[in-house]
Amino acid sequence: MSAITRVGGPASRMWRGRPALSPGALKGETVWHALIPVAILSLVILIAPVLAPYGGTDVNPVGALQSPSPDAWFGTDEIGRDVFSRILIGIRTSWFAALGVILLGTIIGGLIGAIAGAFGGKVDMVLMRITDLFLSLPAPVLAIAVIAAMGPSLRNTLIALSIVWWPWYARIVRGEVRALAARPHAEAAQLAGVSRTRLVLKHLLPGAAAPVIVTMSLDVGNLILALAGLSFIGLGAPPPAPELGAMSARGLQYLFGHPWVPIAPAAAVALLALAANLLGDAINRRLDQRTTR
């Protein structure tokens, strides 16, 4: 890059249209609208055990493979468990599983990204080469290999997914931290005598929060789908765990005779992903507006 272009011009480019002393971040209708489904979902997840007429592995007395009826809202599965109850509890399992992987990914990735971004130089180089390595590999294929190696279990599946998931977050966090570190505010803070840790924690990392949140929300759907796909090829949560992906994958053989068995959990996956995606999308557009307006 040759000449440095001045960012100059009238300051209005940066502050126009913003009311003085307005409150902050996630304000705006779009986000609130999208929060409603997620809020309802969270509530369902919280009180799922209470809502569910039966336990996740309990048998509904109406019998096996019964079609939906007032006694079994979404019918029963091949061994007579109540599909509705299982879905309620499955949403919980899937949601927590997805959140688990995402959180683990965020923590590992965030840590690595923050360290790389904050230290720069050699540390950055080494950490980012490792991250790049993981990023340059096809995550699902790698996950399959890892689970196949460790043996399928929900725990192993989650570990494998976390292993392939964190690099995204490392990348995002590092990118943001680097970008922020190059901004004058980081230098200004440094000149103000702020310690290195505080600089990273208070002046750099919070800036990465927004893109990370967006990615996290978009990832919920992806992860549940990934779990479903793994279950389908026999590498998912072991039975009888009411995990939505596994329920749908294992129920697939009943698609023609007893369609509710695979379709109901798949619809729940879609619903879950839709809610998370809507929120992510809304946050995304909101942040987008904030940064470009």
Partner: protein, 607 residues
């Protein structure tokens, strides 16, 4: 329809954007005519609706949020308000074209220059493109036509923009801040080119700018915009010599001039801010800021037309000179800040001359250049600062001027310790470590942290006991002229000028021995700039802070500095006391710099 009438005839234009915080009235009844071949300047503070007016004429207002348009905008007979998209599109390029502010952003980064010019010309051969480029003074036009925008300098890019704007011989060019992003010397050349091109070809030019000096340099006529209206209009000479509207007087006064200094005094400033574009206006919009306003000013608008001249002041000509004294009159003595700080206060012994704030000896800074390919030999490093000696006396004020890329910022960053010099020494005087004010105030504040917290951080770093911090933060904010609420505000919630004050507040919360300022006002419009410059000078006086001040604005340098240093290609080419430098420049480069300053020569200083 064509020929005799104005190329652009704006009558009582209203542009309103519907936004979530209420309707934004960007333009509120502006009227403006431009005759064929005429060069008209449109000046005014930020947010006065200049760009919106230009874009309306182009039919290029953003679609989201949807603007509401009222009035008439006749472009060579076609009403751009009622015209269909297709009609407007057909006029663009042929009847009207544009040059925008940021030459980097305004060119498609992934398309060769030549292709973009050819496209603007509605199809052209390579030879024709080369000719067009050559006509705007681009060297080696055939070669440059094959370049991508990022491979050209800012000045060249803007010339390309101009070549594109001229390519189809339009009747009117709208140039929106075409030179703001350029270096002073380049700025002058580009301006002259625009003016020459439009005069030679008889193309009318609407030059949108916030700098009266820029307008004065080339315009036949100047229109002054305020709060979405044209408040004064006239020939350049009339308007500059005998402004009738107090706002014009204020604008003129707050421009630091090459012949003026504020050593001791203040740059006159326009107090206050333009009205909120979301609020309805009754009467004169400028009244709240006007020293000559009275009850009448709240009444219906008074519009005076007299031949070429037109103004909307209730008492035209009442103000010939902006009254002395800026907004800081009452806040000259920030006692609390001066209170000796046991940890950081310089051990001053009466009688002994204080040590200089900083001494730089033979400072060199090199930057490694990337290898062109993996196993290549590393190319010789790039020398940004090539052996600089510099001394800033205790509580002194030194300005560094010079072209873009001459190493000014690099030098500053070495001085404050953000960069290690490759060679040479930087010796800091006693006192609190140096602080720095950046060009982009917004970017120099942590976006999510309240201003108060950011100031407190610095206090904490210097071991100011936590019990004292609150009071000190409040006092500092007051000292820089920020309201107390700013303490809890995040930077985004402040205006550009306020943000720069906040940055200054943090820097002086514990007065440093040296305050390095890297173009602290170039991102602000004239009146805000003057306010900030004043503030810096006051702080220097009251707190004994030495100022090291980087700028490319020589007038600003003259206003604040005791001594000026001229840099070129990493070296100091001239160094002199301010007065000497301006009256008797030695180095040819200094002379070139001085000549390029857009100065209002014709203007008699209002007495």
């Amino acid at each position: 329809m064509t020929g005799t009438g104005p190329v652009l005839d704006v009558q009582d234009l209203h542009v309103t954007f519907a936004s979530s915080g209420g309707d934004v009235h960007a333009v509120r009844g502006a009227s403006l005519q431009i005759a064929p071949g005429e060069v008209v300047g449109l000046v005014g503070e930020s947010g006065s609706g200049k760009s919106v007016l230009g874009l309306t004429a182009l039919g290029l207002l953003p679609r989201k949020p949807e603007p509401r348009l009222e009035g008439v905008v006749l472009l060579d007979g076609l009403d751009m308000i009622t015209a269909t998209d297709e009609d407007m599109r057909a006029r663009r390029g042929t009847d009207i074209s544009a040059v925008f502010q940021d030459p980097m952003g305004s060119l498609n980064p992934s398309m060769r220059i030549g292709a973009q010019v050819a496209e603007a010309a509605g199809g052209a051969t390579d030879e024709e493109v080369a000719e067009m480029l050559a006509a705007t003074g681009i060297p080696e036009p055939e070669h440059k036509a094959r370049a991508y925008p990022h491979e050209l300098s800012g000045g060249l890019r803007q010339r390309v923009m101009i070549a594109m704007a001229l390519s189809r011989h339009p009747k009117l060019i709208i140039a929106d801040e075409p030179t703001t992003a350029l270096d002073v010397t380049v700025q002058a050349k580009v301006l002259d080119l625009l003016a020459a091109a439009s005069r030679e070809r008889g193309v009318a030019l609407l030059l949108v700018t916030h700098d009266l000096g820029v307008a004065a340099r080339i315009c036949d006529r100047i229109a002054v915009a305020y709060a979405g209206r044209i408040v004064e209009e006239g020939t350049a000479a009339q308007l500059l010599q005998q402004p009738h509207h107090p706002y014009t007087v204020g604008l003129l006064a707050s421009r630091p001039r090459l012949d003026g200094s504020i050593a001791g005094g203040d740059l006159p400033t326009l107090p206050g801010r333009p009205p909120d574009p979301r609020l309805p206006l009754a009467g004169c919009a400028f009244a709240p800021r006007c020293p000559a306003a009275d009850a009448q000013c709240a009444g219906p608008l008074a519009i005076h037309v007299n031949g070429e001249r037109r103004n909307e002041c209730h008492h035209p000509g009442v103000l010939t000179r902006w009254p002395e004294g800026g907004p800081h009159a009452g806040r000259r003595d920030p006692i609390l800040l001066k209170a000796p700080n046991p940890v950081v206060a310089p051990a001053m012994v009466r009688g002994v001359p204080p040590e200089p704030a900083v001494v730089v000896r033979g400072a060199v800074r090199e930057f490694e250049r990337p290898k062109p390919f993996p196993f290549a030999k590393r190319p010789a490093p790039f020398t940004a600062v090539a052996g600089v000696d510099l001394e800033v006396p205790h509580a002194g004020s030194v300005a560094i001027v010079g072209e873009s890329g001459s190493g000014k910022s690099t030098l500053l960053r070495m001085i404050v310790g953000l960069l290690e010099p490759t060679a040479g020494d930087v010796t800091l005087g006693p006192g609190a470590p140096p602080q720095m004010i950046f060009q982009d105030a917004g970017a120099s504040l942590t976006p999510w942290m309240p201003i108060g917290k950011q100031i407190e951080e610095r206090l904490a770093a210097l071991d100011v006991p936590s019990s004292e911090r609150g009071a000190r933060v409040a006092a500092t904010l007051e000292a820089v002229g920020l309201p107390a609420e700013a303490q809890t505000a995040v930077p985004r919630a402040l205006s550009g000028g306020q943000r720069q004050r906040a940055a200054i507040a943090r820097a002086i919360a514990v007065p440093p021995a040296l305050l390095a300022c890297d173009e602290p006002v170039s991102a602000l419009d004239v009146s805000l700039a003057a306010q900030v410059l004043n503030l810096l000078c006051h702080l220097r006086e009251t707190l004994d802070i030495a100022l090291l001040f980087v700028t490319h604005d020589l007038a600003a340098a003259r206003a604040v500095a005791d001594e000026v240093v001229v840099m070129q290609r990493g070296e100091i080419v001239e160094r002199a006391a301010t007065e000497d430098l301006f009256t008797d420049p030695q180095h040819p480069y200094t002379r070139e710099l001085l000549a390029a300053v857009p100065e209002i020569h014709a203007m008699a200083v209002p007495a």
